[in-house]
């Protein structure tokens, strides 16, 4: 295999808890760059908590996260987190280019000027995500799919290698969904690791080459062809979430 596979995200014994109530239990996984991974599980299964723990937004109760062999304590530029679209204030006074430039800010610190390298990285990210024509638009003047691509471009400008996408396909129509799916495949084949939480089980085989089934604990992880089975789906979606407010509330999901 090429050098692509040498980059991997290792999650060992990861537990995340809110106020001592665990949301993610002792998860062990090793993910390799170059894949599009779907993160599946019912509401409250800990999908967002897993993402947040990976980028250091919530503290880890136990366990470690390492990327490319380096231990990760908290926030890191290698890993980019893209929250759900509904979380963003789209009226913010910023253009698409401004948004992508934000990806460079942490490299620059407070005083360093925005240099040639930075401008190049931004241009490249815009071109990569097919946003050059829209660069000067205010971000609310974009369609849902374009908004997702703008955030991906920001992560590209940040030179991230791991992209954590929270429900990226929610609210997109079919053509926009197809385009976004092509885009994340392109990102993966360029040697990045894309992990997206996802709700619509029907589209999973078209979108992802690997899947993670999560329901508080890791239920299954592997290539879509082997792991995406009716048995794993019912194990994930029909077992009760065993902690927190929802404990004991069994709510079988329809597929």
């Amino acid at each position: 295999m090429s050098q692509v596979s040498s980059h991997r995200l290792e999650i060992k014994d990861l537990t995340v808890a809110y106020h001592r109530v665990p949301a993610v239990h002792h998860v062990n996984m090793e993910l390799h760059c170059g894949h599009c991974v779907g993160l599946l599980g019912p509401n409250g299964a800990g999908k967002s908590s897993l993402f947040k723990a990976l980028v250091g937004l919530v503290p880890k109760e136990t366990g470690t996260v390492a990327f490319g062999g380096h231990g990760k304590e908290g926030a890191d530029r290698d890993i980019a987190y893209l929250p759900q679209r509904s979380m963003i204030d789209w009226d913010f006074p910023i253009t698409v280019r401004g948004l992508v430039e934000m990806g460079r800010y942490m490299r620059l610190g407070s005083w360093k000027r925005f240099g040639k390298d930075d401008a190049e990285a931004v241009d490249q990210a815009l071109a990569n995500m097919d946003l050059c024509d829209l660069a000067d638009r205010q971000i609310s003047a974009l369609s849902g799919g374009q908004q997702q691509r703008a955030f991906l471009a920001r992560a590209l400008a940040q030179k991230a290698h791991v992209f954590l996408l929270d429900e990226p396909f929610t609210g997109l129509d079919k053509p926009a969904q197809d385009l976004l799916s092509q885009t994340i495949r392109k990102l993966a084949s360029a040697g990045n690791l894309v992990i997206a939480s996802h709700h619509d089980l029907k589209s999973v085989p078209d979108l992802f080459d690997q899947v993670i089934f999560l329901n508080g604990e890791l239920i299954a992880f592997g290539p879509t062809g082997e792991i995406f089975t009716q048995q794993n789906i019912s194990r994930t979606f029909q077992t009760p979430i065993f902690s927190g407010e929802h404990a004991g509330a069994v709510e079988p999901h329809k597929i």
């Binding site: 980028v55 926030a75 910023i94 253009t95 401004g98 934000m102 800010y105 610190g109």
Partner: protein, 296 residues
């Protein structure tokens, strides 16, 4: 042209103008952060909660700007901590705790002021008295501006990340909580420097108006940052002159001028103004036609 130069002959007017320009600029720059971080309500509450500190300082130390400054600072801190304690230890949410504490704090201030020495005019602290700026008041204004402005410029990038989306900012390694505290601290400092000029009730106009105006006219953050400062400065000075010429209260004139500038932008802004909205309804025939043609 006598009416134009006449005000400058008085020393108190020169002082007032200088103080006004500086306060207007600092508050105007800060206003972009308050508008985008949605701190307007919190800023209002903080401003009102300065009053008991000022009143206590007046009773104990009399009219000395240093002690007024300290009293205001301590009062603001106590309310800020009180809000966190109440919201953190019960099911009461932050906005409820803030609203309650600010009303109580303001009332306490009013009660305390009635015990203060007879020569103190309560309305000076509620609505400001910029014509009465003393040398030490001016020094406090300088000092606070020279703390607030450089810090805002230095932390412009992380602050921008924070205001846009705190969780992405945190994922990029920004200390969101520290940065938030810093911002609130700068807002309180800036309010204290405006206490003499516009008072605790009216300061909110200076801390929101300028950026709200630019927000309707531009999609660029630097424009909001600097434009807010410039509008704040010019509006404050114009308000001061109007109050002089028309013999009206200065704080109210300043806020009214800033309000008028905002309404002008609300109606006439070429970007997000009402007229523009009515003229160019969202139905974009040409755009959709071009799209169809592209597909065929």
């Amino acid at each position: 042209m006598n009416w134009l130069t006449e005000p400058f002959r008085h020393e108190f007017m020169q002082r007032a103008l200088f103080g006004c320009a500086l306060i207007g600029f600092t508050n105007g720059v800060l206003s972009s952060f308050i508008v985008l971080r949605r701190f307007a309500l919190m800023a209002d509450a903080m401003a009102h909660s300065l009053l008991p500190g000022v009143a206590l300082a007046l009773i104990i130390f009399g009219l000395s700007p240093g002690s007024l400054f300290l009293g205001a600072l301590i009062a603001a801190l106590l309310v800020a901590i009180g809000v966190q304690v109440i919201a953190g230890s019960t099911r009461i949410k932050e906005d409820t705790a803030l609203g309650l504490l600010f009303a109580c704090s303001f009332s306490l201030g009013l009660v305390l002021l009635s015990f203060s020495p007879a020569q103190v005019n309560v309305s000076h602290y509620l609505f400001g008295n910029i014509l009465g700026l003393s040398d030490s008041d001016l020094w406090i204004i300088y000092l606070i501006s020279f703390i607030v402005l450089p810090l805002l410029v230095a932390f412009q990038r992380p602050l921008l990340l924070l205001m846009f989306e705190p969780s992405i900012a945190a994922s990029q390694g920004i200390h969101v909580r520290l940065l938030n505290y810093m911002l609130v601290g700068l807002i309180v400092l800036s309010m204290i420097s405006s206490l003499q000029a516009v008072g605790v009730v009216l300061v909110l106009g200076m801390l929101i108006g300028p950026a709200a105006t630019v927000y309707l006219c531009s999609d660029s953050f630097p424009a909001m940052f600097w434009g807010g400062g410039i509008i704040g400065m010019l509006g404050s000075c114009l308000g001061l002159f109007l109050s002089y010429w028309l013999n009206l209260p200065s704080g109210a004139c300043i806020v009214l001028v800033l309000g008028l500038i905002f309404f002008a932008a609300y109606i006439f802004s070429p970007k997000y103004g009402v007229i523009e909205k009515l003229l160019h309804r969202r139905h974009r025939h040409e755009e959709s036609l071009a799209r169809w043609k592209g597909k065929l």
